[in-house]
């Protein structure tokens, strides 16, 4: 990647010099950022975040390639769908990367005091985003390219696919950065960061919703159907870049005559976006990226717990240590960017998933009876997303933050987990389950209350059980999960097995009148027992395992180094 970065800088140096940039300076800054990103670890984990992103891109690309292989849409639709995913992934990856790449403050002090022009700094930052996002997009494009070249083994396909991916990728990066920098310019830094997180969550939910609804709205195997869908909004359709890519492929394969205006429009868009980006970025970028002013929060006011949950939490968690676990998790889950990005969309997904199930099932008219156990299933399905919340739930990415608990007289650190578990239930799993439950009640009427209740009670119990099972590695950072020998596959297997067993049991007992109420009571009793067991988790299993040396001070590493450990 360093070689790629240097090549890109060399290629762009004739453009950069007239703008006042110094290619050597750009190369140095870019190399430093690329190296840092390649070595960047998420919190205290050993796993390389960049490699994870590459793996994510490859997974998405492979998934899409398989879908396209099975659906076999026509050429234009194929390219439109592929490039739509490229655009979507580019936007997401750029939004995720921009705050820490563009606004990377680690070298700001050094850069501010070096004789570098703004242009050097700006171009280096933008190129860092382009290079790193570009590599991730390439990992997504590769599988779809392989499937496409098998279907259309022609040089025209190769050329169009490469050009389209490059053009749309660049367009995605530039436009996203323009929006990001515009937000930074218009809003105070902290509000801007909140705004970006909100946009990311909204986009994720929109994309997932679109993926869920698209098969119901458009016949993906019909060019005419896709054309009709895009034409519903003529302005959008004619300016939607993936559609241009579809048209290019159809021209290249001789299916359509070339429309030079459309071709030009498609190629001009990223150029215009690039110029716009340079303009918006060039004005005092260094100044805008400075750390926020100290004390920008409103002084003198303490955050209060939400009134309607606090009494319930206090009733469920009488011990102050438990309430510490609850409050800490609740506050951090509302404020920590990484947690919100990874979990908030899941709240919508689980609802969409449940709604999708109900809609799908409503097609089978004769089975759609009142009192059917099916009405409880959308609520049970919420549990499938529980691992994401449980594994993301943490007090801190840095296990060293646990020093506060180490130094406190906590007889049973399991109480912290109990508080976190209740927080997960009250703040996330239960509310989203209630939304699914509401959908079931609206469609099925009050007669299905028992089935819905059984689903809700199951979610409560299963969440606490998950915290207990995975909880030996909580609540400080997920790297401890690896130490505890828990793998993603194992966690997924557990979730699927438990969820499937619960659903099967619900159906099996469905014919017995009142069985759903019995299940609800059983799950609630199990939940109560599980909470008690969480509280009793032995200190040795948590604190001493995590912190065998009890935290870190400046002298720690020297003493360990002196001891050769």
């Amino acid at each position: 990647m360093l070689i790629l970065s240097r090549a890109v800088v060399r290629l762009l140096s004739p453009l950069v010099r007239p703008l006042g940039g110094d290619p050597a300076g750009i190369s140095a800054l870019l190399a430093a950022q690329v190296r840092t990103e390649l070595r960047r670890q998420r919190g205290a984990t050993d796993r390389n975040t960049f490699l994870l992103k590459l793996a994510g891109g490859l997974f998405t690309g492979t998934f899409l390639a398989v879908v396209l292989f099975l659906l076999r849409p026509p050429a234009g639709a194929w390219m439109t769908i592929t490039q739509s995913m490229v655009l979507a992934l580019t936007v997401f990856t750029t939004l995720e990367a921009a705050p820490h790449l563009l606004a990377d403050r680690r070298d700001l002090a050094m850069v501010s005091s070096a004789p570098l022009r703004d242009a050097t700094f700006v171009v280096a930052r933008i190129l860092a985003v382009v290079v790193l996002v570009g590599v991730v997009i390439a990992s997504q494009v590769a599988p779809t390219f392989v499937v496409g070249i098998i279907r259309w083994p022609q040089a025209e396909f190769l050329l169009v696919h490469l050009i389209a991916s490059g053009v749309i990728g660049l367009l995605g990066v530039f436009c996203t950065l323009i929006i990001y920098l515009a937000i930074l310019r218009l809003l105070p830094a902290r509000k801007a960061r909140e705004g970006i997180v909100f946009v990311q969550i909204l986009l994720t939910i929109t994309l997932f919703g679109a993926l869920q609804l698209a098969p119901h709205l458009v016949d993906l195997q019909s060019e005419a159907s896709i054309e009709a869908a895009l034409s519903r909004s003529a302005a959008f359709g004619s300016w939607f870049p993936p559609r241009h890519a579809g048209e290019w492929l159809r021209w290249a394969l001789g299916e359509l005559p070339i429309d030079r205006a459309l071709l030009l429009r498609g190629l001009l868009l990223p150029a215009v976006a690039g110029i716009g980006l340079l303009v918006i970025a060039s004005t005092r970028l260094l100044e805008r990226l400075r750390p926020p002013e100290l004390g920008e929060d409103s002084p003198g006011r303490r955050a209060r717990p939400r009134a309607f949950l606090a009494p319930l939490a206090e009733r469920l968690l009488p011990d102050p240590v438990e309430r510490v676990g609850y409050d800490l998790f609740r506050l951090l889950s509302r404020r920590e960017r990484g947690f919100r990005l990874r979990t908030y969309p899941m709240l919508a997904f689980s609802v969409l998933f449940g709604v999708g199930y109900l809609l799908q099932f409503s097609r089978f008219g004769s089975v759609w009876e009142i009192r059917t156990p099916h009405f409880g299933i959308p609520v049970y399905l919420t549990f499938l997303y529980t691992p994401i919340f449980v594994l993301q739930a943490r007090f801190s990415d840095d296990g060293e933050a646990g020093w506060l608990f180490d130094r406190s007289p906590i007889p049973a650190p399991g109480r912290l987990l109990a508080g976190m578990g209740v927080g997960l239930v009250l703040c996330f799993l239960l509310p989203v389950s209630l939304v699914s439950a509401l959908g079931s009640l609206i469609l099925g009427g009050p007669e299905v209350l028992g089935h819905v209740g059984a689903g809700l009670a199951f979610v409560v119990w299963a969440t606490l059980l998950s915290v207990a099972i995975f909880g030996r590695a909580l609540p400080f950072a997920e790297p401890f999960r690896a130490e505890m020998g828990l793998t993603n596959v194992g966690i997924l297997a557990f979730t699927l097995a438990l969820g499937a067993a619960a659903i099967a049991l619900h159906f099996l007992l469905g014919r017995l009148p009142g069985s759903e109420w019995g299940l609800a009571v059983l799950y609630l009793l199990l939940a109560r027992r599980q909470l008690r067991r969480l509280r009793e988790l032995r200190p040795r299993a948590i604190v001493q395992r995590w912190f065998p040396a009890g935290g870190r001070s400046a002298g720690d590493s020297e003493e360990r180094a002196a001891a050769g450990t």
């Binding site: 100290l294 920008e296 510490v324 506060l404 608990f405 040396a549 009890g550 400046a554 001891a563 050769g564």
Partner: protein, 267 residues
């Protein structure tokens, strides 16, 4: 040294040994610190200071010897020890997303300080530091000096008998450093014990009633600052420290290193 009239010591350590892997980092430490003392614990990097502090605060298992803190055996009653001590680490990782008020409330609850009392102490202590208007400020927005004050507040919230301070003046401006030094003196005068770790010899010499110098896992000097400087026939504690930890040639060695660095800057 305990006199017959003094109260029972805050810290009593006897033949303390500990190893990391095959290497011994503490090779037999003996300490007795009376209550109401500001005790300085200094040593070069890697000497065993941090390991000692972790053992005294009940965090590190696997050591040999006898350690009693605030009248409780650390091995048998670590929770009793933790309930009676406060700790201000150097370079503490905090919960950046919490506000000052939230963090301190959390600490108060962990130490089971009644809510009203915790709120009053938070107000008064932060007020003493001039931070009463920062209750709603997030930790991430605080400078190093302000974080240090918040840390000191958190260590005092439950009125500990013994306070461990690791470079407590780090990041503080002159006035704040003066305040903290006076606070340390006041805590000791009111019967509390302060265990002070620092590399700043000037401060240690002014603030501490007694100092122990640790090197290579054992205490090589122990006494009041003046006793140590007189016994070593040196002008200040820094010179005593250098002499004892690096030997007679320390000053010449330092001069040689400085010349080497300056020499590299010559054209």
């Amino acid at each position: 040294m305990i006199t017959p009239e003094s109260p029972s010591p805050s810290i009593r350590v006897s033949a303390l040994r500990h190893r990391y892997g095959s290497k011994e980092v503490l090779t037999g430490v003996d300490l007795t610190i009376p209550a109401g003392t500001v005790f300085g614990y200094i040593g070069p990097n890697g000497a065993g200071k941090s390991t000692t502090v972790k053992i005294l605060t009940g965090l590190l298992p696997g050591w040999e010897g006898a350690v009693e803190v605030c009248g409780h055996d650390v091995r048998r009653s670590p929770l009793e020890v933790k309930a009676r001590i406060g700790y201000v680490p150097e370079n503490a990782i905090l919960y950046e997303q919490l506000t000052v008020g939230e963090l301190l409330e959390l600490v108060g609850r962990l130490h089971r300080v009644p809510t009203d009392l915790a709120e009053r102490r938070i107000r008064e202590i932060l007020g003493g530091f001039g931070l009463e208007e920062r209750l709603g400020t997030r930790i991430q927005a605080l400078s190093k000096g302000l974080r240090q004050k918040v840390l000191i507040t958190s260590a005092l919230l439950h009125d500990p008998e013994l306070i461990f301070l690791d470079e407590p003046l780090s990041g503080l401006d002159v006035d704040s450093a003066r305040l903290v030094k006076d606070l340390i003196r006041g805590l000791a005068d009111s019967g509390r014990t302060v265990f002070y770790c620092s590399h700043d010899m000037d401060v240690v010499e002014k603030v501490c009633d007694r100092i122990a110098i640790v090197s290579e896992g054992r205490i090589i000097a122990d006494g009041a600052p003046r006793e140590l400087t007189e016994a070593a026939e040196q002008g200040d504690l820094e010179a005593v420290f250098s002499l004892l930890t690096r030997g007679k040639d320390a000053a010449r060695d330092t001069r040689a290193r400085v010349e080497r660095i300056l020499g590299s800057l010559a054209p």
